[in-house]
């Protein structure tokens, strides 16, 4: 098993090609540029196509056309670019087009910063585009996990005929770590292909991919079908990792690169006699509610740590349902929390010092 030292963004791109990506459309934005640059170099060699669009709006619409014509297509961007894509993402969800969209998050709002942040939790879980839709959002915490989730994302997109988000951040995208690619085999495409636009060849009626339904009953029924699908995804694809949770009195919740910092803090706290543990959502939507319903008897409080001003904490509070206090600790604007400050906050909390 060979391990390669790779930047998170490049590992994502390489894993995407292994996962079956055939077409990439994108627009430059920091801190995700290594992804399109990798595709520009490597995708043609693999028989695929890389095309630079004139904007994120055009990129997501190229993705729509390409996937509608049967490609395993993807795009990647960073926070403000994702905001521009939301119109197209709503359309992809409505028309049930399988594709993958990577967000290497940076700080906001507005142009914010190019430094790492998790300020798009809302954007990745609450839409941003119009209408009732949900997007399966995978949230890796290491370069290895980035590669594995990226590789799998195309099969998930095909399985549920849905767009899939891969939620990375500037820290995860820019760091170098050893990554191993031979662990997983390439996923095969599955499912019904009878929706793809191929031209009717005079053998079947013309096919239309569309979202507009002016008859209220038809649109309602389409929405209910989508909700059924989201229910299936929730039941089957909700993922999380538990770390040192068995006897935890302090329950941290964090995702992505922040979760790694929290793990360091948990080890530190345990050495200091404080029994801390972590629930790490690996899917942001569907959010893992179950581990919060079965918190250990020993649990005293939950601390949600994010690189933003408090977004996932809303879902944590909904999941905890008032069974214990939920606190929030966040850094934002590109500031990365240190394990020591998390430990300090946690200890103060236990001794009644912190709010």
């Amino acid at each position: 098993m060979s391990r390669t030292l790779m930047k998170g963004n490049e590992a994502l791109a390489r894993a995407a090609i292994r996962g079956g990506c055939t077409h990439f459309f994108g627009y430059p934005i920091t801190p995700q540029n290594e992804i399109p640059e990798y595709f520009a170099r490597e995708l043609p060699k693999a028989g695929g196509l890389f095309l630079q669009a004139e904007s994120e709006i055009a990129a997501v619409n190229m993705l729509y056309g390409s996937a509608a014509a049967g490609a395993q297509a993807m795009t990647s961007s960073s926070s403000p670019g994702l905001a521009l894509m939301q119109e197209g993402i709503s359309m992809l969800a409505a028309t049930e087009i399988p594709c993958v969209i990577v967000n290497v998050m940076r700080g906001g709002p507005g142009l914010g910063t190019i430094q790492p942040a998790q300020s798009d939790y809302f954007q990745m879980t609450r839409g941003g585009g119009n209408g009732d839709y949900r997007i399966l959002s995978l949230a890796p915490a290491t370069v290895q996990e980035s590669a594995e989730m990226m590789e799998e994302s195309f099969a998930l997109a095909q399985k549920y005929r849905t767009p899939v988000f891969l939620v990375s951040d500037g820290l995860l995208g820019q760091m170098m770590e050893p990554v191993q690619f031979d662990r997983h085999t390439k996923k095969k495409r599955a499912g019904n292909k009878r929706w793809i636009l191929t031209g009717h060849h005079h053998r079947r009626p013309p096919r239309t991919i569309k979202s507009l339904r002016l008859d209220p009953a038809k649109l309602e029924s389409h929405n209910l079908e989508l909700q059924d699908k989201y229910g299936r995804i929730s039941r089957r694809e909700t993922r999380f990792e538990l770390y040192r949770m068995n006897d935890a009195e302090l329950v941290f919740c964090a995702f992505g690169s922040t979760a790694r910092i929290v793990k360091n803090s948990i080890d530190d706290l345990r050495q200091k006699g404080c029994r801390a543990g972590l629930i790490r959502p690996q899917t942001l939507w569907p959010f893992p509610v179950q581990p919060f319903k079965t918190l250990p008897e020993s649990g005293k409080a939950v601390i949600c740590v994010e690189m933003n001003c408090g977004q996932m904490v809303d879902d944590v509070r909904l999941a905890v349902e008032g069974r214990m206090p939920v606190h929030f600790y966040g850094r934002c604007g590109g500031v990365i929390p240190e394990p020591a400050e998390l430990s300090e906050y946690a200890l103060e909390l236990l001794t009644g010092g912190a709010a």
């Binding site: 004139e54 904007s55 014509a69 359309m91 028309t95 191929t198 060849h201």
Partner: protein, 247 residues
């Protein structure tokens, strides 16, 4: 006895939702006939855009995809780059192509995308109820220009064909009109050329069809055709603006 004119198989049996006298129906027929005559119906993917023609997917006898407002050239790009052997066209109005989709159309031309664009210019937003478009003529009334377009305030109308003909990647650009049978015959030839340009891998082709919106203009269908001839053609001169030598 021989049939010298009948409905093309390029159109479905569905009756259109267009207002009486709307030239969308003529444009649809010409596109359907062109695709039928070139033997392309089974291998074509069309891109419907926002506006009255959003429902064109109910009328064209080809596979189609609905596109958000202005984005059809980007969607067509994605399709054509994925299945280059298929014939891909967009059917866009002037609100769609000349306002909200300006970036997408310019850059599809800029990349020399090998697609055919059918551009319906009726100088107004039809579906939303007659608002001013970038193509609305000076003095022409619209619901958002109740006193008529004031060029000093809203600018002079955009001439998309002239503009796109200047883009190096554009291969074929022609403006035709649908106001009279003689001109409709010429429009048909232009649409055929728009598709043969794509078949020859010539690059970006656009045919602009001067059209009417009797409802939005507040004229009866015959008056609307007269208004088009008297007012639109002088501002939007007909003819080939760019042509590849081999087509």
């Amino acid at each position: 006895m021989s049939v010298i004119f009948k409905k093309t198989t390029g159109l479905t049996e569905a009756a259109t939702h267009y207002c009486p006298g709307c030239t969308h129906g003529i444009a649809h027929r010409l596109v359907g006939e062109a695709l039928e005559e070139l033997g392309l119906l089974g291998d074509t993917i069309g891109c419907a855009s926002v506006g009255c023609s959003i429902f064109s997917y109910n009328y064209f006898n080809v596979d189609m995809i609905e596109c958000s407002h202005g984005r059809a050239p980007a969607v067509a790009t994605g399709i054509k780059r994925t299945v280059p052997d298929k014939t891909v066209f967009t059917y866009q109005g002037d609100g769609d192509l000349a306002a909200i989709g300006t970036a997408e159309i310019v850059h599809a031309a800029h990349r020399g995308e090998n697609i055919t664009v059918i551009f319906i210019n009726n100088a107004i937003y039809g579906m939303t109820g007659g608002q001013m478009a970038p193509t609305t003529l000076p003095g022409q009334k619209a619901t958002t220009a109740p006193a008529g377009r004031i060029a000093e305030f809203s600018g002079r109308p955009l001439k998309m064909s002239e503009m796109l003909a200047e883009v190096p990647g554009a291969a074929y650009v022609e403006r035709v009109s649908l106001h009279h049978p003689k001109y409709i015959r010429k429009a048909k030839k232009a649409i055929l050329k728009g598709f043969t340009c794509q078949l020859a891998k010539g690059g970006f082709a656009m045919v602009e069809l001067l059209s009417t919106c009797p409802t939005g203009w507040g004229l009866d269908p015959v008056e609307a055709m007269e208004w088009l001839e008297a007012n639109m053609i002088p501002y939007y001169p007909l003819g080939v603006l760019k042509t590849p030598e081999e087509v």
